[in-house]
Amino acid sequence: MKDKPKVFYIKDWPAGREASAAVLERVFREHEPILRRFLRARLVPKADQEDIVQDIFVRLAATKDVVEKLSDASGNTQAYLFSMASRMVIDRRRRAVSRKQDQHESYEEDMVATEQISPDMAAAANQEIEAMMARLNKLKPKCRQAFVLSRFEHKSYSEIAREMRLSVGSVERYITIALATLRKGLKS
């Protein structure tokens, strides 16, 4: 099996960030398997999985105060990584769609997309937000609270359970119901 270069062997660490290298190595070791399972469960093509894992750690390596941010996060390091990974997955899918539509567009930089936003798109996006707010409003309070705490504050289910004085299983059940309900409004 070919030994792929691991990202924490980045040469030329930004000056003053050598200490971060040790932390990132540890984070990488601890979270890589879980991150890969996450990507598999997100149905990411095998070819892209390795790229995304590398991208995440490259981005972390470039983040100032990454050591503080990750130490603060504790149980939420996972949530932080999952949310970064989710965005990259969405990003890649969107660019793959764009690439198909505009064959002559060339991407000079890996991370920059060149989709233009038209007034129609902006209006549609606004409508979608309104519709989603309305559906969120209709959720039962506990479902809504659990979902918001997880989705937007990236709290772990144990943290949410503590805050809402529930069992972790109940939190997961409420989030399941929230997702199933919000899915109903989704146009295919």
Partner: protein, 348 residues
């Protein structure tokens, strides 16, 4: 069990962080059972993803999710000459402004992306080059990474920039009256009605006309970390290094233009708003109230000239304004009247 519900269960398990090998196997088996299962699972993932659109309406979302915000405060009063030093117990801010987790990706979805915060809201944006931009209350920033340059436009408000070094591609912040160009550094920009405030923590920035490009050939004045006022038409370019705070007023090149400089205290905690705090060091009450009003929809008004200049020092949580006002009333010679839409301060 209906497949929509099972799909939602799998996504909820996925984002719990506790998905086991068995869970993964169960998902795999379930997906192989039918096309419909796969379609439902993809729809459930999409539901999770598209909820991201609500991130731009976080204050409303938070308000829906919680009915009351707990206010904690403990403060010892210490009388020091004419001013009172107040420290409100910081405690962990569980939600609201300054929450590190409101992160959105940058221009992955638009050539020019815009980010806006409402009153009291804060947001941090992560850009493709590893830079981050944090927006404070009532701020609007546009980001343009579409061509071979890095550009942000600060339309209004206050933002903190942490820019990844790239000598090939300087990063420019266009504030309308002036532009700020950097190679890679950390700095805060606050654009208010008549002034532009730039404070640098790391690296160096150049402040110049928006239509010019920063150039080492242009004559420049390097501002110093000392309290001073310079006439603003002395040069076409001003260099600001770490530890220097500069406030620009007037139009560049006009005789009325002015630059006020001062040193930055406490470089480590700076800027306080990013940790959800406001800090005052012997500042006159009217300035403190002006700052508080940036974050509060219920404005505070001082209706007594006698108390306007009372020096105030202390550290307060941005989302605990009522606590801060209570502590003022307790230790300063003030009387506050709380109305539905405003708070009025007079002397005791």
């Amino acid at each position: 069990m209906r497949s929509e519900h099972r799909a939602a269960q799998f996504v909820a398990r996925l984002y719990s962080g506790d998905m086991t090998e068995q869970d993964e196997q169960a998902l795999h088996d379930w997906l192989s059972e039918s096309e419909a299962n796969l379609a439902e699972y993809q729809a459930a993932l999409e539901t999770w993803d598209r909820a991201e659109a609500l991130a731009s309406r976080l204050p409303e979302v938070n308000a829906l999710a919680r009915t009351d915000a707990a206010i904690h405060g403990r403060w010892p009063g210490l009388a020091i000459a004419a001013s009172i030093l107040l420290f409100v117990a910081i405690g962990l801010v569980s939600w609201g402004p300054g929450n590190f987790w409101s992160i959105n990706t940058g221009p992955a979805d638009a050539a020019i992306a815009s980010y806006t915060t409402g009153l009291g809201q804060q947001k941090t944006i992560s850009l493709p080059d590893g830079s981050t931009v944090s927006l404070n209350t009532e701020t609007r920033v546009l980001v343009d990474f579409s061509t071979k340059r890095r550009r942000a436009i600060l339309e209004y408000g206050e933002a903190w920039f942490d820019i990844a070094r790239d000598p090939e591609k300087p990063f420019t912040v266009d504030t309308g009256s002036r532009a700020i160009t950097v190679l890679g550094t950390q700095f805060n920009v606050y654009k208010s009605s008549f002034k532009l405030n730039v404070e640098v923590i790391e690296g160096m920035v150049a402040v110049h006309r928006p239509e010019d490009i920063m150039s080492v050939q242009t004559p420049a004045i390097e501002l110093q970390a000392e309290t001073a006022t310079l006439s603003g038409n002395g040069a076409d370019q001003y260099l600001i290094g770490a530890g220097v705070a500069a406030t620009f007023s007037g139009v560049l090149g006009d005789a009325s233009a002015e630059v006020q400089t001062s040193p930055i205290e406490d470089m480590d905690k700076y800027p306080f708003w990013r940790s959800g705090q406001m800090r005052f060091d012997q500042q006159p009450l009217y300035q403190v109230i002006k700052e508080i009003n940036r974050y509060s929809s219920r404005k505070v008004l001082i209706e007594d000239k006698a108390v306007m200049d009372i020096p105030v020092s202390g550290v307060f949580n941005i989302n605990e304004i009522d606590t801060a006002l209570n502590s003022f009333e307790m230790v300063l010679p003030l009387r506050m009247t709380h109305y539905a839409d405003r708070v009025v301060i007079v002397g005791k």
